[in-house]
Symmetry: C2
């Protein structure tokens, strides 16, 4: 599993903390997702999708073995 959160966040010129606030989650959650420590819930993935204007499928990419 791979994701583009860090890149999309950079496009919007947001810090992890700003993104966390916009999504009503903690900064650690954003950091953990960017560092691939775990996947977000579908709810959070959909909120990110809305915020970045991309589908969940575009933000989170399945890889071999997932």
């Amino acid at each position: 599993m791979k994701n583009n959160i860090k890149v999309e966040r950079a496009k919007k010129d947001m810090t992890q903390e700003q993104l966390a606030e916009a999504l009503c989650v903690s900064r650690q959650t954003i950091n953990a997702i960017e560092k691939n420590k775990y996947l977000p819930s579908t709810l959070l993935a959909l909120k990110m999708s809305n915020l970045f204007g991309l589908t969940v499928n575009e933000l989170f990419i399945l890889e071999e073995g997932d």
Copy 2:
């Protein structure tokens, strides 16, 4: 939050058990998601997305208050 799993499953003429097997989860998980007891993980949502040929966003729809 709303989802179209039951309808898409019907289109494919699959039982909950068949869908569960195809996705490597338990039948109860499928049932619980269809009955909106909880949301799947993003991993499972993406697998469903692949199987049905729809984006996660098309399968799971945010509503007011989510």
